[in-house]
Amino acid sequence: MPTYLLKKLVTLPLILLGVSLLVFVALRALPGDPARLMAGPEAPQEAVDAMRVRLGLDDPLPLQYLRFAGSALGGDLGTSIRSGRPVTVEIAERLPKTISLALVAYGIAISVGLSAGMAAAINRNRWPDQLTMLFAIAGASIANFWLALLAMNYFAVELGWLPLMGSGSWKHYIMPAITLAVMPTAVIARMTRASMIEVVGQDYIRTARAKGLPERVVMRKHALRNALVPIVTIIGLNFGSMLGGAVVTESVFNWPGLGRLLVDSVRFRDYPTVQGVTLVAVTAVVMMNFLAEMLIAAINPRIRFD
Protein backbone atom coordinates (compact mmCIF):
# COMPACT_ATOMS: atom_id res chain seq x y z
CA MET A 1 0.00 0.00 0.00
CA PRO A 2 2.60 2.69 0.90
CA THR A 3 4.67 2.13 -2.27
CA TYR A 4 1.54 2.06 -4.40
CA LEU A 5 0.26 5.25 -2.82
CA LEU A 6 3.66 6.88 -3.20
CA LYS A 7 3.87 5.92 -6.86
CA LYS A 8 0.43 7.37 -7.49
CA LEU A 9 1.28 10.57 -5.66
CA VAL A 10 4.36 11.01 -7.84
CA THR A 11 2.57 10.32 -11.12
CA LEU A 12 -0.33 12.67 -10.41
CA PRO A 13 1.70 15.91 -10.64
CA LEU A 14 3.62 14.45 -13.60
CA ILE A 15 0.36 13.90 -15.48
CA LEU A 16 -0.86 17.39 -14.61
CA LEU A 17 2.48 18.80 -15.77
CA GLY A 18 2.05 16.99 -19.10
CA VAL A 19 -1.53 18.17 -19.48
CA SER A 20 -0.55 21.81 -18.85
CA LEU A 21 2.41 21.49 -21.28
CA LEU A 22 0.15 20.10 -23.97
CA VAL A 23 -2.45 22.82 -23.49
CA PHE A 24 0.29 25.48 -23.51
CA VAL A 25 1.94 24.12 -26.65
CA ALA A 26 -1.49 23.91 -28.29
CA LEU A 27 -1.96 27.67 -27.93
CA ARG A 28 1.56 28.40 -29.14
CA ALA A 29 1.03 26.19 -32.18
CA LEU A 30 -1.84 28.37 -33.35
CA PRO A 31 -1.60 29.68 -36.86
CA GLY A 32 -1.05 33.42 -36.89
CA ASP A 33 0.19 35.86 -34.32
CA PRO A 34 -1.52 35.57 -30.92
CA ALA A 35 -0.74 39.22 -30.22
CA ARG A 36 -2.54 40.28 -33.40
CA LEU A 37 -5.42 38.00 -32.44
CA MET A 38 -5.78 39.51 -28.99
CA ALA A 39 -5.34 43.08 -30.14
CA GLY A 40 -7.99 42.69 -32.82
CA PRO A 41 -7.74 42.64 -36.61
CA GLU A 42 -7.96 46.42 -37.02
CA ALA A 43 -5.45 47.37 -34.34
CA PRO A 44 -2.43 49.41 -35.47
CA GLN A 45 0.99 47.76 -35.46
CA GLU A 46 2.06 49.65 -32.32
CA ALA A 47 -0.90 48.24 -30.39
CA VAL A 48 -0.02 44.72 -31.56
CA ASP A 49 3.59 45.22 -30.48
CA ALA A 50 2.47 46.56 -27.12
CA MET A 51 0.20 43.55 -26.76
CA ARG A 52 3.10 41.25 -27.58
CA VAL A 53 5.21 42.79 -24.83
CA ARG A 54 2.30 42.79 -22.41
CA LEU A 55 1.65 39.09 -23.07
CA GLY A 56 5.35 38.31 -22.74
CA LEU A 57 5.49 36.76 -26.18
CA ASP A 58 9.03 38.08 -26.70
CA ASP A 59 10.39 35.88 -23.93
CA PRO A 60 11.84 32.42 -24.51
CA LEU A 61 9.26 29.60 -24.57
CA PRO A 62 10.27 27.87 -21.31
CA LEU A 63 9.92 31.16 -19.48
CA GLN A 64 6.51 31.72 -21.10
CA TYR A 65 5.42 28.27 -19.96
CA LEU A 66 6.57 28.88 -16.41
CA ARG A 67 4.64 32.13 -16.32
CA PHE A 68 1.54 30.43 -17.76
CA ALA A 69 1.75 27.56 -15.27
CA GLY A 70 2.46 29.91 -12.40
CA SER A 71 -0.52 32.14 -13.04
CA ALA A 72 -2.76 29.10 -13.71
CA LEU A 73 -1.80 27.71 -10.30
CA GLY A 74 -2.56 31.10 -8.81
CA GLY A 75 -6.03 31.01 -10.39
CA ASP A 76 -5.37 33.29 -13.35
CA LEU A 77 -6.20 31.77 -16.72
CA GLY A 78 -6.01 34.94 -18.76
CA THR A 79 -8.72 37.10 -20.32
CA SER A 80 -11.48 35.97 -22.63
CA ILE A 81 -11.23 37.53 -26.09
CA ARG A 82 -14.98 37.34 -26.55
CA SER A 83 -16.17 38.92 -23.31
CA GLY A 84 -13.04 40.69 -22.08
CA ARG A 85 -13.59 39.16 -18.66
CA PRO A 86 -11.22 36.85 -16.76
CA VAL A 87 -11.51 33.26 -17.98
CA THR A 88 -11.77 32.03 -14.39
CA VAL A 89 -14.88 34.17 -13.90
CA GLU A 90 -16.43 32.75 -17.07
CA ILE A 91 -15.69 29.22 -15.88
CA ALA A 92 -16.91 29.84 -12.34
CA GLU A 93 -20.24 31.07 -13.71
CA ARG A 94 -20.79 27.99 -15.87
CA LEU A 95 -19.36 25.32 -13.60
CA PRO A 96 -22.39 24.94 -11.28
CA LYS A 97 -24.64 24.41 -14.31
CA THR A 98 -22.49 21.58 -15.61
CA ILE A 99 -22.07 20.02 -12.19
CA SER A 100 -25.79 20.05 -11.42
CA LEU A 101 -26.63 18.54 -14.81
CA ALA A 102 -23.95 15.87 -14.39
CA LEU A 103 -25.19 15.06 -10.88
CA VAL A 104 -28.77 14.53 -12.05
CA ALA A 105 -27.52 12.42 -14.96
CA TYR A 106 -25.30 10.38 -12.63
CA GLY A 107 -28.28 9.88 -10.31
CA ILE A 108 -30.35 8.49 -13.17
CA ALA A 109 -27.48 6.38 -14.50
CA ILE A 110 -26.63 4.85 -11.14
CA SER A 111 -30.18 4.06 -10.06
CA VAL A 112 -31.33 2.69 -13.43
CA GLY A 113 -28.04 1.01 -14.31
CA LEU A 114 -27.66 -0.65 -10.93
CA SER A 115 -31.23 -2.01 -10.83
CA ALA A 116 -31.14 -3.18 -14.43
CA GLY A 117 -27.78 -4.89 -13.93
CA MET A 118 -29.03 -6.58 -10.74
CA ALA A 119 -32.21 -7.75 -12.42
CA ALA A 120 -30.17 -9.12 -15.30
CA ALA A 121 -27.76 -11.00 -13.06
CA ILE A 122 -30.52 -12.51 -10.92
CA ASN A 123 -32.57 -13.58 -13.97
CA ARG A 124 -29.59 -14.67 -16.01
CA ASN A 125 -30.42 -15.72 -19.58
CA ARG A 126 -34.09 -14.87 -19.11
CA TRP A 127 -35.91 -11.83 -20.47
CA PRO A 128 -34.81 -9.22 -17.91
CA ASP A 129 -31.22 -10.19 -18.73
CA GLN A 130 -31.74 -10.09 -22.46
CA LEU A 131 -33.57 -6.77 -22.26
CA THR A 132 -30.80 -5.24 -20.14
CA MET A 133 -28.05 -6.47 -22.43
CA LEU A 134 -29.92 -5.22 -25.45
CA PHE A 135 -30.27 -1.82 -23.83
CA ALA A 136 -26.64 -1.85 -22.69
CA ILE A 137 -25.28 -2.51 -26.14
CA ALA A 138 -27.72 -0.17 -27.89
CA GLY A 139 -27.14 2.57 -25.32
CA ALA A 140 -23.42 2.45 -26.03
CA SER A 141 -24.07 2.75 -29.77
CA ILE A 142 -26.46 5.70 -29.87
CA ALA A 143 -25.35 9.22 -30.67
CA ASN A 144 -26.70 11.16 -27.69
CA PHE A 145 -27.45 14.24 -29.81
CA TRP A 146 -29.69 12.08 -32.00
CA LEU A 147 -31.70 11.07 -28.96
CA ALA A 148 -31.76 14.72 -27.95
CA LEU A 149 -33.12 15.85 -31.33
CA LEU A 150 -35.85 13.18 -31.33
CA ALA A 151 -36.86 14.05 -27.77
CA MET A 152 -36.92 17.76 -28.56
CA ASN A 153 -39.03 17.13 -31.64
CA TYR A 154 -41.67 15.05 -29.87
CA PHE A 155 -41.75 16.19 -26.26
CA ALA A 156 -40.99 19.88 -26.75
CA VAL A 157 -42.13 20.92 -30.22
CA GLU A 158 -45.03 18.59 -30.99
CA LEU A 159 -46.44 17.78 -27.56
CA GLY A 160 -45.21 20.89 -25.79
CA TRP A 161 -44.69 19.04 -22.52
CA LEU A 162 -41.15 20.16 -21.90
CA PRO A 163 -39.16 23.33 -22.60
CA LEU A 164 -37.14 23.06 -25.82
CA MET A 165 -33.89 24.60 -24.64
CA GLY A 166 -32.17 26.60 -21.95
CA SER A 167 -32.15 26.15 -18.21
CA GLY A 168 -34.11 27.50 -15.29
CA SER A 169 -36.82 25.24 -13.94
CA TRP A 170 -36.59 21.54 -13.01
CA LYS A 171 -38.36 20.77 -16.28
CA HIS A 172 -35.32 22.00 -18.17
CA TYR A 173 -33.27 19.22 -16.61
CA ILE A 174 -35.38 16.30 -17.86
CA MET A 175 -34.30 15.96 -21.48
CA PRO A 176 -30.61 16.96 -21.13
CA ALA A 177 -30.10 14.79 -18.03
CA ILE A 178 -31.71 11.72 -19.60
CA THR A 179 -29.74 12.21 -22.82
CA LEU A 180 -26.52 12.56 -20.88
CA ALA A 181 -27.36 9.54 -18.71
CA VAL A 182 -27.90 7.01 -21.51
CA MET A 183 -24.26 6.13 -22.09
CA PRO A 184 -23.20 5.77 -18.41
CA THR A 185 -26.43 3.87 -17.65
CA ALA A 186 -25.49 1.32 -20.29
CA VAL A 187 -21.95 1.04 -18.94
CA ILE A 188 -23.08 0.71 -15.31
CA ALA A 189 -25.78 -1.86 -16.15
CA ARG A 190 -23.25 -3.98 -18.00
CA MET A 191 -20.65 -3.72 -15.26
CA THR A 192 -23.18 -4.49 -12.49
CA ARG A 193 -24.36 -7.58 -14.33
CA ALA A 194 -20.85 -8.91 -14.92
CA SER A 195 -19.74 -8.13 -11.39
CA MET A 196 -22.85 -9.66 -9.78
CA ILE A 197 -22.56 -12.83 -11.84
CA GLU A 198 -18.98 -13.23 -10.73
CA VAL A 199 -19.75 -12.62 -7.06
CA VAL A 200 -22.77 -14.93 -7.02
CA GLY A 201 -20.45 -17.78 -8.06
CA GLN A 202 -18.27 -17.29 -4.95
CA ASP A 203 -18.17 -19.69 -2.03
CA TYR A 204 -19.42 -17.23 0.57
CA ILE A 205 -22.65 -16.76 -1.34
CA ARG A 206 -23.21 -20.50 -1.25
CA THR A 207 -22.48 -20.39 2.47
CA ALA A 208 -24.97 -17.58 2.98
CA ARG A 209 -27.61 -19.51 1.08
CA ALA A 210 -26.77 -22.73 2.88
CA LYS A 211 -27.30 -21.17 6.27
CA GLY A 212 -30.83 -20.39 5.19
CA LEU A 213 -30.76 -16.65 4.57
CA PRO A 214 -33.58 -15.40 2.36
CA GLU A 215 -32.44 -14.83 -1.25
CA ARG A 216 -33.22 -11.12 -1.00
CA VAL A 217 -30.80 -10.69 1.90
CA VAL A 218 -28.13 -12.77 0.19
CA MET A 219 -28.38 -10.61 -2.91
CA ARG A 220 -28.48 -7.27 -1.20
CA LYS A 221 -26.12 -7.78 1.71
CA HIS A 222 -23.66 -10.39 0.52
CA ALA A 223 -23.61 -10.12 -3.24
CA LEU A 224 -24.23 -6.45 -4.08
CA ARG A 225 -21.85 -5.14 -1.44
CA ASN A 226 -18.98 -7.14 -2.83
CA ALA A 227 -19.97 -6.47 -6.42
CA LEU A 228 -19.92 -2.73 -5.77
CA VAL A 229 -16.14 -2.31 -5.93
CA PRO A 230 -15.75 -2.59 -9.71
CA ILE A 231 -18.99 -0.64 -10.16
CA VAL A 232 -17.70 2.29 -8.11
CA THR A 233 -14.49 2.14 -10.13
CA ILE A 234 -16.30 2.34 -13.41
CA ILE A 235 -18.43 5.24 -12.16
CA GLY A 236 -15.31 7.15 -11.11
CA LEU A 237 -13.43 6.42 -14.29
CA ASN A 238 -16.45 7.39 -16.37
CA PHE A 239 -16.31 10.99 -15.22
CA GLY A 240 -14.25 11.94 -18.24
CA SER A 241 -16.62 10.53 -20.82
CA MET A 242 -19.46 12.15 -18.87
CA LEU A 243 -17.77 15.54 -19.37
CA GLY A 244 -17.25 14.73 -23.05
CA GLY A 245 -20.94 13.89 -23.35
CA ALA A 246 -21.82 17.14 -21.59
CA VAL A 247 -20.03 19.11 -24.33
CA VAL A 248 -22.43 17.77 -26.95
CA THR A 249 -25.55 17.66 -24.77
CA GLU A 250 -25.10 21.22 -23.52
CA SER A 251 -24.65 22.47 -27.08
CA VAL A 252 -27.84 20.80 -28.30
CA PHE A 253 -29.96 22.05 -25.43
CA ASN A 254 -28.34 25.47 -25.16
CA TRP A 255 -27.44 24.59 -21.60
CA PRO A 256 -25.22 27.38 -20.20
CA GLY A 257 -22.47 25.11 -18.85
CA LEU A 258 -18.78 24.53 -19.44
CA GLY A 259 -19.33 22.31 -22.47
CA ARG A 260 -21.20 24.96 -24.39
CA LEU A 261 -18.68 27.58 -23.31
CA LEU A 262 -15.98 25.40 -24.87
CA VAL A 263 -17.84 24.95 -28.16
CA ASP A 264 -18.80 28.64 -28.38
CA SER A 265 -15.22 29.67 -27.61
CA VAL A 266 -13.87 27.51 -30.43
CA ARG A 267 -16.39 29.10 -32.77
CA PHE A 268 -15.36 32.63 -31.72
CA ARG A 269 -11.65 31.70 -31.76
CA ASP A 270 -11.52 32.70 -28.11
CA TYR A 271 -8.32 30.74 -27.45
CA PRO A 272 -7.64 31.74 -23.83
CA THR A 273 -11.09 30.44 -22.90
CA VAL A 274 -10.59 27.20 -24.88
CA GLN A 275 -7.30 26.77 -23.08
CA GLY A 276 -8.73 27.54 -19.65
CA VAL A 277 -11.80 25.34 -19.96
CA THR A 278 -9.70 22.45 -21.27
CA LEU A 279 -7.21 22.81 -18.44
CA VAL A 280 -9.91 22.93 -15.76
CA ALA A 281 -11.90 20.02 -17.27
CA VAL A 282 -8.89 17.72 -17.67
CA THR A 283 -7.59 18.54 -14.19
CA ALA A 284 -11.00 17.65 -12.80
CA VAL A 285 -10.98 14.34 -14.67
CA VAL A 286 -7.46 13.49 -13.47
CA MET A 287 -8.39 14.29 -9.87
CA MET A 288 -11.62 12.27 -10.07
CA ASN A 289 -9.77 9.25 -11.44
CA PHE A 290 -7.16 9.60 -8.73
CA LEU A 291 -9.79 9.82 -6.00
CA ALA A 292 -11.65 6.80 -7.40
CA GLU A 293 -8.45 4.76 -7.44
CA MET A 294 -7.57 5.80 -3.90
CA LEU A 295 -11.08 4.99 -2.68
CA ILE A 296 -10.96 1.56 -4.24
CA ALA A 297 -7.49 0.86 -2.89
CA ALA A 298 -8.74 1.80 0.57
CA ILE A 299 -11.83 -0.43 0.29
CA ASN A 300 -10.08 -3.40 -1.21
CA PRO A 301 -6.31 -3.64 -0.70
CA ARG A 302 -6.03 -6.42 -3.27
CA ILE A 303 -6.87 -4.12 -6.16
CA ARG A 304 -4.11 -2.19 -7.89
CA PHE A 305 -4.16 -0.08 -11.00
CA ASP A 306 -0.93 -0.55 -12.86
Binding site: G18, V266, A281
Partner: protein
Protein backbone atom coordinates in the same frame (compact mmCIF):
# COMPACT_ATOMS: atom_id res chain seq x y z
CA UNK B 1 -8.63 -22.84 -5.78
CA UNK B 2 -11.13 -20.83 -7.76
CA UNK B 3 -10.02 -22.62 -10.91
CA UNK B 4 -10.75 -25.98 -9.33
CA UNK B 5 -14.21 -24.98 -8.15
CA UNK B 6 -14.93 -23.42 -11.54
CA UNK B 7 -13.91 -26.61 -13.25
CA UNK B 8 -16.05 -28.72 -10.95
CA UNK B 9 -19.06 -26.44 -11.10
CA UNK B 10 -21.93 -27.89 -13.07
CA UNK B 11 -22.22 -24.62 -15.02
CA UNK B 12 -19.52 -25.74 -17.42
CA UNK B 13 -21.42 -28.68 -18.82
CA UNK B 14 -21.08 -29.68 -22.43
CA UNK B 15 -24.45 -28.21 -23.34
CA UNK B 16 -23.49 -24.92 -21.80
CA UNK B 17 -20.18 -24.76 -23.58
CA UNK B 18 -21.98 -25.52 -26.80
CA UNK B 19 -24.40 -22.71 -26.15
CA UNK B 20 -21.55 -20.32 -25.47
CA UNK B 21 -19.80 -21.43 -28.65
CA UNK B 22 -22.96 -20.62 -30.54
CA UNK B 23 -23.62 -17.29 -28.83
CA UNK B 24 -20.08 -16.09 -29.58
CA UNK B 25 -20.49 -16.88 -33.22
CA UNK B 26 -23.95 -15.33 -33.13
CA UNK B 27 -22.41 -12.02 -32.03
CA UNK B 28 -19.86 -12.21 -34.80
CA UNK B 29 -22.58 -13.12 -37.28
CA UNK B 30 -24.99 -10.32 -36.28
CA UNK B 31 -22.24 -7.72 -35.96
CA UNK B 32 -20.67 -8.81 -39.21
CA UNK B 33 -24.03 -8.66 -40.93
CA UNK B 34 -24.61 -5.06 -39.81
CA UNK B 35 -21.11 -3.95 -40.78
CA UNK B 36 -21.51 -5.83 -44.07
CA UNK B 37 -24.74 -3.94 -44.75
CA UNK B 38 -22.98 -0.61 -44.23
CA UNK B 39 -20.16 -1.73 -46.50
CA UNK B 40 -22.67 -2.81 -49.12
CA UNK B 41 -24.49 0.53 -48.84
CA UNK B 42 -21.18 2.33 -49.33
CA UNK B 43 -20.18 0.29 -52.36
CA UNK B 44 -23.60 0.26 -54.01
CA UNK B 45 -24.49 3.86 -53.14
CA UNK B 46 -24.55 5.00 -56.79
CA UNK B 47 -26.84 2.08 -57.76
CA UNK B 48 -29.19 2.25 -54.79
CA UNK B 49 -29.61 6.01 -54.64
CA UNK B 50 -32.79 7.34 -56.22
CA UNK B 51 -31.06 10.68 -56.91
CA UNK B 52 -27.77 12.54 -56.81
CA UNK B 53 -26.87 13.25 -53.14
CA UNK B 54 -25.72 16.78 -53.98
CA UNK B 55 -28.44 17.78 -56.44
CA UNK B 56 -30.66 20.52 -55.04
CA UNK B 57 -34.28 20.68 -56.16
CA UNK B 58 -35.51 23.59 -54.08
CA UNK B 59 -39.14 23.09 -55.10
CA UNK B 60 -38.93 19.63 -53.45
CA UNK B 61 -37.51 20.82 -50.12
CA UNK B 62 -38.43 19.18 -46.79
CA UNK B 63 -40.67 16.48 -48.27
CA UNK B 64 -41.75 13.58 -46.03
CA UNK B 65 -40.90 10.02 -47.14
CA UNK B 66 -42.62 8.93 -50.36
CA UNK B 67 -42.10 6.38 -53.16
CA UNK B 68 -39.99 8.85 -55.06
CA UNK B 69 -37.91 9.85 -51.99
CA UNK B 70 -38.05 6.89 -49.54
CA UNK B 71 -36.41 8.92 -46.72
CA UNK B 72 -37.84 12.29 -47.81
CA UNK B 73 -35.78 15.34 -48.76
CA UNK B 74 -33.75 17.91 -46.84
CA UNK B 75 -34.02 21.69 -46.66
CA UNK B 76 -32.25 22.03 -50.01
CA UNK B 77 -34.45 19.46 -51.69
CA UNK B 78 -31.73 16.82 -51.77
CA UNK B 79 -32.76 13.17 -51.53
CA UNK B 80 -32.10 11.94 -47.97
CA UNK B 81 -31.76 8.26 -48.87
CA UNK B 82 -29.02 9.10 -51.34
CA UNK B 83 -27.27 11.25 -48.75
CA UNK B 84 -27.50 8.56 -46.05
CA UNK B 85 -26.13 5.96 -48.48
CA UNK B 86 -23.24 8.17 -49.57
CA UNK B 87 -22.72 8.99 -45.90
CA UNK B 88 -21.84 5.33 -45.35
CA UNK B 89 -18.80 5.91 -47.58
CA UNK B 90 -17.67 8.81 -45.40
CA UNK B 91 -18.22 6.83 -42.21
CA UNK B 92 -16.17 3.90 -43.44
CA UNK B 93 -13.49 6.33 -44.60
CA UNK B 94 -13.52 7.79 -41.08
CA UNK B 95 -13.02 4.31 -39.64
CA UNK B 96 -10.17 3.44 -42.01
CA UNK B 97 -8.32 6.74 -41.54
CA UNK B 98 -9.08 7.20 -37.83
CA UNK B 99 -8.33 3.64 -36.73
CA UNK B 100 -5.51 3.24 -39.26
CA UNK B 101 -3.61 6.31 -38.04
CA UNK B 102 -4.09 5.33 -34.40
CA UNK B 103 -2.78 1.80 -35.04
CA UNK B 104 0.15 3.04 -37.14
CA UNK B 105 1.30 5.35 -34.36
CA UNK B 106 0.14 3.50 -31.24
CA UNK B 107 1.34 -0.03 -32.00
CA UNK B 108 5.02 0.86 -32.68
CA UNK B 109 5.07 3.11 -29.60
CA UNK B 110 3.69 0.35 -27.37
CA UNK B 111 6.00 -2.22 -28.93
CA UNK B 112 9.02 -0.01 -28.30
CA UNK B 113 7.91 0.74 -24.73
CA UNK B 114 7.33 -2.92 -23.93
CA UNK B 115 10.45 -4.42 -25.50
CA UNK B 116 13.06 -1.72 -24.90
CA UNK B 117 11.85 -0.71 -21.43
CA UNK B 118 13.73 1.72 -19.20
CA UNK B 119 13.62 5.43 -19.93
CA UNK B 120 12.06 4.91 -23.39
CA UNK B 121 9.19 3.04 -21.76
CA UNK B 122 8.70 5.71 -19.13
CA UNK B 123 8.69 8.65 -21.53
CA UNK B 124 6.32 6.94 -23.99
CA UNK B 125 3.91 5.81 -21.32
CA UNK B 126 3.95 9.20 -19.60
CA UNK B 127 2.97 10.82 -22.91
CA UNK B 128 0.23 8.24 -23.37
CA UNK B 129 -1.08 8.80 -19.83
CA UNK B 130 -1.21 12.55 -20.48
CA UNK B 131 -3.20 12.06 -23.71
CA UNK B 132 -5.41 9.52 -21.99
CA UNK B 133 -6.27 12.00 -19.24
CA UNK B 134 -8.19 14.11 -21.76
CA UNK B 135 -11.81 13.20 -22.46
CA UNK B 136 -11.75 12.26 -26.17
CA UNK B 137 -14.17 14.97 -27.28
CA UNK B 138 -12.30 17.68 -25.36
CA UNK B 139 -8.92 16.72 -26.83
CA UNK B 140 -10.44 16.56 -30.30
CA UNK B 141 -11.93 20.06 -29.86
CA UNK B 142 -8.57 21.41 -28.70
CA UNK B 143 -6.81 19.92 -31.73
CA UNK B 144 -9.48 21.02 -34.19
CA UNK B 145 -9.36 24.54 -32.76
CA UNK B 146 -5.68 24.58 -33.78
CA UNK B 147 -5.84 22.78 -37.10
CA UNK B 148 -9.13 24.33 -38.13
CA UNK B 149 -12.43 22.55 -38.79
CA UNK B 150 -12.65 19.90 -41.50
CA UNK B 151 -13.12 16.16 -41.79
CA UNK B 152 -9.46 15.28 -42.23
CA UNK B 153 -8.29 17.44 -39.31
CA UNK B 154 -11.02 15.90 -37.20
CA UNK B 155 -9.81 12.41 -38.08
CA UNK B 156 -6.27 13.37 -37.05
CA UNK B 157 -7.70 14.56 -33.74
CA UNK B 158 -9.68 11.36 -33.25
CA UNK B 159 -6.63 9.25 -34.13
CA UNK B 160 -4.55 11.15 -31.57
CA UNK B 161 -6.97 10.40 -28.75
CA UNK B 162 -7.13 6.74 -29.80
CA UNK B 163 -3.33 6.28 -29.89
CA UNK B 164 -2.91 5.61 -26.12
CA UNK B 165 -5.37 2.70 -26.31
CA UNK B 166 -3.18 0.88 -28.83
CA UNK B 167 0.09 1.84 -27.16
CA UNK B 168 -1.10 0.45 -23.82
CA UNK B 169 -2.50 -2.69 -25.40
CA UNK B 170 0.68 -3.34 -27.38
CA UNK B 171 2.90 -2.69 -24.38
CA UNK B 172 0.94 -5.18 -22.26
CA UNK B 173 1.16 -7.82 -24.98
CA UNK B 174 4.89 -7.21 -25.38
CA UNK B 175 5.52 -7.36 -21.63
CA UNK B 176 3.56 -10.60 -21.39
CA UNK B 177 5.40 -12.22 -24.26
CA UNK B 178 8.89 -10.96 -23.43
CA UNK B 179 9.45 -13.53 -20.73
CA UNK B 180 7.83 -16.41 -22.60
CA UNK B 181 10.12 -19.38 -23.12
CA UNK B 182 10.01 -19.23 -26.88
CA UNK B 183 11.01 -15.57 -26.95
CA UNK B 184 13.89 -16.23 -24.57
CA UNK B 185 14.87 -19.21 -26.69
CA UNK B 186 14.94 -16.97 -29.76
CA UNK B 187 17.08 -14.49 -27.90
CA UNK B 188 19.42 -17.26 -26.76
CA UNK B 189 19.76 -18.35 -30.39
CA UNK B 190 21.02 -14.86 -31.15
CA UNK B 191 17.95 -13.21 -32.68
CA UNK B 192 18.24 -9.42 -32.73
CA UNK B 193 15.84 -7.16 -30.85
CA UNK B 194 14.07 -5.94 -34.04
CA UNK B 195 13.68 -9.53 -35.18
CA UNK B 196 12.14 -10.53 -31.85
CA UNK B 197 9.85 -7.49 -31.97
CA UNK B 198 8.49 -8.27 -35.39
CA UNK B 199 8.68 -12.05 -35.68
CA UNK B 200 7.75 -13.08 -32.19
CA UNK B 201 5.83 -10.28 -30.52
CA UNK B 202 4.06 -8.32 -33.22
CA UNK B 203 2.56 -11.39 -34.83
CA UNK B 204 1.03 -12.53 -31.58
CA UNK B 205 -0.48 -9.12 -31.00
CA UNK B 206 -2.53 -9.30 -34.16
CA UNK B 207 -5.60 -10.78 -32.43
CA UNK B 208 -5.91 -8.17 -29.65
CA UNK B 209 -5.21 -5.34 -32.11
CA UNK B 210 -7.98 -6.55 -34.44
CA UNK B 211 -10.43 -6.79 -31.52
CA UNK B 212 -9.50 -3.32 -30.31
CA UNK B 213 -9.74 -1.86 -33.81
CA UNK B 214 -13.27 -3.17 -34.20
CA UNK B 215 -14.27 -1.65 -30.87
CA UNK B 216 -12.51 1.64 -31.66
CA UNK B 217 -14.29 1.80 -35.03
CA UNK B 218 -17.61 2.38 -33.26
CA UNK B 219 -16.10 5.15 -31.13
CA UNK B 220 -14.58 6.77 -34.21
CA UNK B 221 -17.93 6.89 -36.03
CA UNK B 222 -19.68 8.30 -32.95
CA UNK B 223 -16.99 10.91 -32.23
CA UNK B 224 -16.71 12.01 -35.85
CA UNK B 225 -20.49 12.39 -36.06
CA UNK B 226 -20.65 14.30 -32.74
CA UNK B 227 -17.95 16.76 -33.74
CA UNK B 228 -19.32 17.19 -37.25
CA UNK B 229 -22.68 17.88 -35.63
CA UNK B 230 -20.98 20.64 -33.63
CA UNK B 231 -19.59 22.05 -36.89
CA UNK B 232 -15.99 21.04 -36.28
CA UNK B 233 -15.72 18.15 -38.71
CA UNK B 234 -17.22 17.52 -42.12
CA UNK B 235 -18.53 20.73 -43.67
CA UNK B 236 -21.61 21.17 -45.84
CA UNK B 237 -22.54 19.99 -48.40
CA UNK B 238 -20.76 16.73 -47.46
CA UNK B 239 -23.33 14.02 -46.68
CA UNK B 240 -21.71 13.20 -43.34
CA UNK B 241 -24.30 11.79 -40.94
CA UNK B 242 -23.46 14.11 -38.03
CA UNK B 243 -23.32 17.17 -40.30
CA UNK B 244 -26.69 16.21 -41.80
CA UNK B 245 -28.23 16.15 -38.34
CA UNK B 246 -26.74 19.56 -37.70
CA UNK B 247 -28.93 20.81 -40.58
CA UNK B 248 -31.87 18.79 -39.29
CA UNK B 249 -31.60 20.54 -35.95
CA UNK B 250 -33.02 23.72 -37.56
CA UNK B 251 -36.16 21.92 -38.72
CA UNK B 252 -37.44 20.33 -35.51
CA UNK B 253 -41.20 20.12 -35.68
CA UNK B 254 -41.07 20.67 -39.44
CA UNK B 255 -39.15 17.69 -40.74
CA UNK B 256 -37.76 15.13 -38.29
CA UNK B 257 -36.54 12.80 -41.07
CA UNK B 258 -33.45 14.96 -41.63
CA UNK B 259 -32.33 13.94 -38.13
CA UNK B 260 -34.03 10.56 -37.82
CA UNK B 261 -32.42 8.65 -40.71
CA UNK B 262 -28.77 9.76 -40.34
CA UNK B 263 -29.02 8.96 -36.60
CA UNK B 264 -30.45 5.52 -37.33
CA UNK B 265 -27.60 4.90 -39.76
CA UNK B 266 -25.08 5.89 -37.08
CA UNK B 267 -26.72 3.59 -34.56
CA UNK B 268 -26.74 0.57 -36.89
CA UNK B 269 -23.11 1.12 -37.88
CA UNK B 270 -21.82 1.59 -34.34
CA UNK B 271 -24.00 -1.28 -33.08
CA UNK B 272 -22.53 -3.51 -35.79
CA UNK B 273 -18.93 -2.69 -34.87
CA UNK B 274 -19.63 -3.04 -31.13
CA UNK B 275 -21.37 -6.41 -31.41
CA UNK B 276 -18.71 -7.68 -33.80
CA UNK B 277 -15.95 -6.46 -31.46
CA UNK B 278 -17.57 -8.15 -28.44
CA UNK B 279 -17.87 -11.42 -30.33
CA UNK B 280 -14.31 -11.26 -31.61
CA UNK B 281 -13.01 -10.47 -28.15
CA UNK B 282 -14.79 -13.48 -26.66
CA UNK B 283 -13.42 -15.65 -29.42
CA UNK B 284 -9.83 -14.41 -29.60
CA UNK B 285 -9.25 -13.39 -26.00
CA UNK B 286 -11.18 -15.76 -23.71
CA UNK B 287 -9.65 -14.33 -20.56
CA UNK B 288 -11.53 -11.05 -20.47
Amino acid sequence: MTEITAALAPTDSKARRRRRWLSRRRSIFIGGLLVGLVLLAAILAPLLSPADPYEQVLSDALLPPSWEHPFGTDDNGRDLLARVLYGARLSLLEVVVGVGLAVLVGVPLGLAAGTIGGLVDQVIMWTMDVLFAFPGVVLAILIVSILGPGLFNLLIAIAIFSVPVYARLMRNVALGLKSMDYVEAARALGASTPRIMFDHILRNALGPVIVQSTLTAGTVVLSAASLSFLGMGAQPPMPEWGAMMSDGRNYLGVNIYMSLFPGLAIMLTVLGFNILGDGLRDLLDPRS
